[in-house]
Symmetry: C2
């Protein structure tokens, strides 16, 4: 075990896409746990679009990451030292450990994971916040009903790919994914079981929606915002539910594009609702049990896009989300990770 | 009774604010009812922001008014001749009779009104679609709860002024109206019983909302869209409901401004829902009875801004809505109307 803890800290608040100069790589001694604490050797770091929002000043659903602080990140790892009665050396855990090799924790928000059931990275994907976001966003916020026509944007991404699969498993009539490029679209229909894929880079999304969803869209699960949100708004069925989960197309824009077609909510008597997975904490166990059952039975495909490297690779890995490079859940595995 | 029926027809589709050349004034003989029909002498014509949308090409929640057709309008009047078993000469009625002096009808969508209970113009206001829109928009779509902080935009307008009053009657904790100019703001607090008024022309709406709604906005009833919608989105309380009733600031814009702050729906776990009064037809009687009771008891103020004139005055009267001239329900009373 190295005695040095390498960390990525926020050095500056980006304007647009984060630049190398917005980060600083720091070293300090591996922390020693005090009473009621334990330390974790981090093996896998979750890389999420929401991180871009955490880098901005100003209150949101969580406080911003302060300048000079270790970048916030969900991660999994193993307990290496413990003065906490609930966690023992060797326990595998998930927590918001940050972009660093070693973290000290008092156990708050930390859950133990069973790496014999699924690989650690799966606990950042289908069995983690990603899968839970898809689950509650679609079923609770989106109020999915059997037979519904469902459209998912960012469909080949972490949350999107799980959302489409849950929709099928829960009886949606038709599940249509929107993604960028032929490879992702191929993955949607061949790997994740979507009924149809729309390549937004290839042409007219509205026209494709007219073709694939002739009776309109009952549930739209939006991860991207921007032009695609406006396109889908024109195709809502009466009483449609639009789930606002993310807006990855807008996170690096200095001027956010609001949905100019929002009055289609009136035409369709539809709703647009924001959701955050943290509100469902008391229902996590039941949802994780259902997700784990689907995974075990081969009904749910969890795909992680794992980048192997060191914490210093985090800044570039984050940019992959905005380049549209990843399919599935983007994970940074620290050296020795799988 | 004149033998000539004067009518206002749509001559062209406006781009921006309707111009005089978008209308034609036509004359034809007063229609004679066929079997199952009756004719109505129109006394009061409803003048509504939604009319601007009906003038555009393209499907919406109702088909557009065709070029050359009599302009669509809700109106009240008296039956002057009848071959319909359900309507007798002298009956006072409400219906979508159009901008004309005489209409022929088969009774569809026509309801009899009791002009001994309230003046005819009130059936275009508090006891008409206006009052019903406020009622169902606030109580059903907005899910008003006792103690809620409610914000209404276009608050001195037809729907807005009723909405604020219903909110108070149904136990809202605080009701804040947004309107343009000191006179309207005075009417909000002194006539319509709002707890506070914000003059959007006088300054910073966000700052005023911080002051008047320090714990955030639970229900926002939006009649205007545009910058004010964006301002209120920044002040939503957790679980807030935004009711999309109209967007009068945008109806004459060639490029609609979408709400750039829509991601605040996620931060607040809030919803934005469109509503149309027509969906509540089976509940009209119960709502009208409650509204009529409040009117009778002096708990609800119905204010109509009545322009006396002829159908030829309709084009200019319509523009008053977009100039922000009217307070309360805008009605065109044909000569002899009150």
């Amino acid at each position: 075990m190295p005695m040095t803890n390498h960390q990525v800290r926020l050095a500056d608040r980006p304007n647009g896409l984060p630049r190398a100069t917005d980060w600083s790589l720091t070293e300090e001694e591996v922390p020693v746990p005090g009473p009621g604490q334990f330390t974790v050797a981090v093996s896998h770091i979750s890389v999420d679009p929401a991180m871009r929002g955490w880098m901005n000043a100003g209150a949101s659903y969580v406080p911003p990451v302060e300048i000079g602080a270790v970048m916030r990140a969900g991660a999994v790892g193993s307990v290496t030292a413990s003065e906490h009665p609930g966690f023992a050396v060797g326990d595998d855990v998930y927590g918001v450990f940050g972009v660093q090799e070693h973290a000290v924790s008092d156990g708050q928000g930390v859950i133990k994971i069973d790496t014999s059931l699924a690989a650690p990275s799966v606990y950042l994907g289908a069995l983690g916040m990603t899968g839970l976001t898809a689950y509650f966003g679609l079923l609770d916020t989106g109020k999915l009903k059997a037979g519904d026509t469902v459209v998912v944007s960012g469909a080949a991404g972490a949350v999107g790919s799980i959302t489409g699969q849950i929709a099928k498993l829960k009886g949606a009539g038709k599940v249509i994914g929107i993604a960028g490029g032929p490879e992702k679209c191929h993955a949607l229909t061949e790997e994740f079981g979507f009924d149809a894929a729309i390549d937004y880079r290839a042409g007219n999304v509205r026209k494709a929606l007219r073709e694939h969803a002739p009776r309109g869209v009952d549930v739209y699960f939006d991860n991207v915002g921007g032009e695609i949100l406006d396109d889908v708004l024109t195709r809502l069925a009466r009483g449609a539910r639009v789930v606002i989960c993310g807006a990855v197309s807008q996170y690096n824009e200095t001027q956010v594009r609001g949905p100019a077609n929002y009055m289609m909510l009136l035409v369709a008597r539809a709703s647009m609702t924001g959701m955050l997975v943290f509100d469902y904490q008391d229902q996590y166990p039941q949802a994780m049990a259902e997700l784990a059952g689907w995974l075990r039975d081969g009904k749910l495909v969890s795909r992680e896009h794992v980048v192997h490297g060191s914490v210093g690779d985090f800044p570039q890995t984050l940019l992959m989300l905005f380049d549209g490079v990843n399919t599935g859940k983007l994970v940074l595995a620290l050296d020795g990770g799988e």
